[in-house]
Symmetry: C3
Subunit: 116 residues, 3 copies
């Protein structure tokens, strides 16, 4: 079964599809980097929407989301965005932990596995 | 292929099944939260047993386990429970790292991907 | 569908195959443990090459890589090895976060999911 890559780059691809399974790279904010975690979360979720759409999927077809927060005390702020993004009855499995991210301006990074 | 959700909630589901693949949400202790990491690990492994059973699977069919410890110095205590839980000859792939969890009373969180 | 295990041990297996999907355990350095992150990364990537070969796969068929760095300030040093290892046009999805690892001599741990 051949692999299809989304936005392939020299270092990584933003997504890899195997059949109907989609693995997205960890998404971090671009425009809102350095800003509050709520704005970053909203931007990251929008990036995920766009990548999933490119792969013929959407947020109701996420299997698992892993959320890394640079500061776990922002859990509530992140969830305020998350809770209004997910669709009731179609929520993914999820894990959230604290981890310092690749640059201090990133406050949240989200990884998802979905199905097309 | 349609998705089946275990204990779907507004924020997340405790598990999502795609065909014979099962993604569980990160499991943390409930009854033993705040207690020693050994007791929390035992409780979490019991939760995983229950969710896998609900999905028609069991601990010998785990593909990968990711273990987050709030304090990596508790690695040995966690392993004491893990080692007597896994079945020799049927052990999963595994990774263990330190990460602060969503509340200070949680000392261990375990994520698994399994097959039905 | 039956599971095939690579280097199964009492605590974990170094890899688990389900059909054409391969889940590898988190890989850390052995010979270069305690050494610089660049050398550890090179050794870990070599371990991944060997395990994927055993499973009938290779680095161009990795779906997702999760990289844990004990110190995120070593991101550049890790990437120097990574960038010359990956094959342009066949790069995986990837996420990199900071996490303390199971022993202080480990500076990098890499988890991959691939296809045979």
């Amino acid at each position: 079964m051949s692999l299809i890559r989304l936005k392939p780059g020299k270092r990584m691809s933003q997504g890899v599809l195997l059949g109907n399974a989609i693995f997205l790279a960890g998404q971090v904010a671009e425009k809102t980097a350095g800003g509050p975690v709520g704005a970053q979360t909203a931007e990251v979720l929008g990036q995920i929407d766009a990548l999933l759409a490119e792969a013929g999927s959407d947020k109701t077809k996420i299997l698992m989301a892993t959320i890394y927060l640079a500061d776990i005390s922002t859990f509530g702020e992140m969830n305020a965005e998350w809770d209004q993004w997910v669709v009731e009855g179609a929520t993914p499995a999820r894990a959230t932990v604290e981890a310092r991210l690749v640059a201090p301006e990133y406050k949240v990074e989200i990884v998802v596995v979905a199905v097309a």
